[in-house]
């Protein structure tokens, strides 16, 4: 198993929300990718956006600017 590292994670209420986040981040070259939601957040079956911690500010700004439909922002070890 890989060693856990700190990530900034954004969760969504819908798959469409996750897709909108990916599209917005890709358009601005903000690093990160969609991964299954880790159990430390919820044991549901959705996707979340996981980014390196130093991308947090850029992601948060994007969420506000683009009015992205997010359900939570977390810093987690995954």
């Amino acid at each position: 198993m890989r060693q856990p590292k700190e990530h900034f994670v954004v969760t969504f209420a819908t798959t469409t929300g996750a897709m909108a986040m990916e599209e917005a981040c890709r358009a601005q070259n903000i690093p990160g990718r969609l991964i299954p939601v880790p159990r430390s957040i919820t044991a549901g079956c959705g996707m979340c956006w996981a980014a390196p911690p130093d991308a947090r500010q850029a992601v948060e700004q994007l969420v506000i600017e683009k009015k992205l439909d997010v359900s939570g922002l977390f810093t987690v070890l995954i």
Partner: protein, 380 residues
């Protein structure tokens, strides 16, 4: 074979659409079910398709597009999700059973219905809508284009009427999506219900509804969503709120390709070709002995449909003769539009519907004119 039953489903589909479905069947995982590349490839395509549909109908957000198997399912979602017992609903005699049967079911549950009547040539008078308004009127549900005559309903006027009276406007765009402009904001439409496999040139099993921002639609079905799994109810956020179970990702890939074609070419180019051919046919058969054509051909803008009868001949027999002797595919019968056929006086006889699409040619149209001429001659 000459295929003139495009109002039932367009055939053939463009090669780009076929290839997109094949590629999807080879490569797609399940959208929203996992975050591996295969699932994400499907999810990205569906996301893009939502945005294209929103753009097509003047919507603001892709999340206000919910995908369904067809118009019928979309209409059921809109009608049962927005209306209920105690509501009065206005519709028209032009409607297909995809509108009528949900409304009749709602009436059994306590809703009241009024229908704008069609005359014996299938014409409705939108001025008469005013006379149908009751204190408890909640909505107008109507088609954009009659699937029997091809006549268009002035949805701008219906939208203004609804706006004036504070009514919901649910539009059945089964015969018009992608061919005639529809704008939910400018035309005051609350929900547009569409199918992918007719004028949009996509695969069967695709469709959906595009609705205005802020509209509260109760979920019609509940089930797996790929998100919020421990909720006991359907998630409240759109589009998941209206979508349960695996989407038709393979079909939607085809619809995605069809929309790309449509948006690149422009809807006018598709429409002009179809309308020229339908008009050519109309002009070619209108004076043939015994031929009776239904609908208003004094206007240029209409769905590419010509529906006719020959004398008192059974429409089913005429359609079968066209098929067996001339290899021309048409649609006889009631076209799932019982109220309109009652108005036309064709409940017993039915009528034969010819309908065009992008792949039809002048030669095919002329062959159809000749076939009708022969049959009209024989029935004298």
């Amino acid at each position: 074979m000459i295929y003139l039953d495009n109002a039932a489903t367009t055939r053939p589909k463009p090669q780009e659409v076929i290839q997109a479905v094949v590629d999807a069947m080879q490569n797609f995982g399940n959208s929203g079910r996992g975050s591996h590349d295969e699932a994400l490839t499907a999810a990205r395509m569906i996301y893009d398709t939502r945005n294209s549909i929103a753009k097509l109908f003047g919507g603001t957000k892709g999340e206000n597009v919910a995908f369904t198997a067809n118009s019928t399912e979309a209409l059921n979602i809109a009608i049962f999700g927005l209306l209920g017992p105690g509501d009065h609903i206005i519709s028209t005699d032009l409607e297909h059973n995809s509108v009528l049967r949900p409304l009749y079911r709602l009436a059994k549950q306590g809703a009241q219905l009024s229908f704008l009547p069609a005359d014996k040539n299938g014409q409705i008078n939108l001025q008469d809508l005013e006379k149908l308004v009751e204190p408890n009127t909640k909505a107008v549900v109507c088609t954009h284009a009659s699937n029997v005559t091809g006549d268009l309903v002035d949805i701008t006027a219906v939208g203004e009427f609804c706006h004036r009276h504070g009514l919901l406007f649910i539009l059945d765009a089964s015969q018009s999506a992608g061919v005639f402009p529809i704008n939910i904001k400018e035309q005051h439409i609350d929900a547009v219900c569409f199918t992918g496999h007719k004028s949009l040139l996509g695969p069967q099993g695709t469709g959906g509804l595009c609705f205005r921002e802020g509209l509260e639609i109760r979920p019609w079905k509940t089930g797996g969503t790929g998100v919020q799994s421990y909720l006991t109810e359907q998630p409240s956020q759109y589009p998941t709120r209206l979508e349960a179970g695996t989407l038709n990702g393979h079909g939607l890939a085809g619809l995605h390709a069809a929309l790309k074609l449509r948006l690149a070419t422009g809807i006018e180019a598709f429409r002009a070709h179809e309308l020229v051919l339908a008009r050519r046919f109309y002009e070619g058969v209108k004076k043939l002995p015994g031929v009776k054509i239904y609908g208003n051909f004094n206007v240029a803008l209409r769905a590419p449909i010509v529906t006719l009868n020959i004398g008192d001949e059974d429409a089913a027999q005429i359609s079968d003769e066209l098929d067996r002797r001339f290899a021309i595919a048409t649609r006889p019968g009631a076209h799932c539009a019982p109220r309109l056929h009652k108005a036309l006086g064709t409940v017993e006889q039915g009528a034969v519907r010819f309908s065009w699409s992008w792949a039809n040619t002048e030669e095919e149209t002329d062959a159809a004119i000749e076939a009708v001429r022969v049959l009209a001659e024989e029935s004298k």
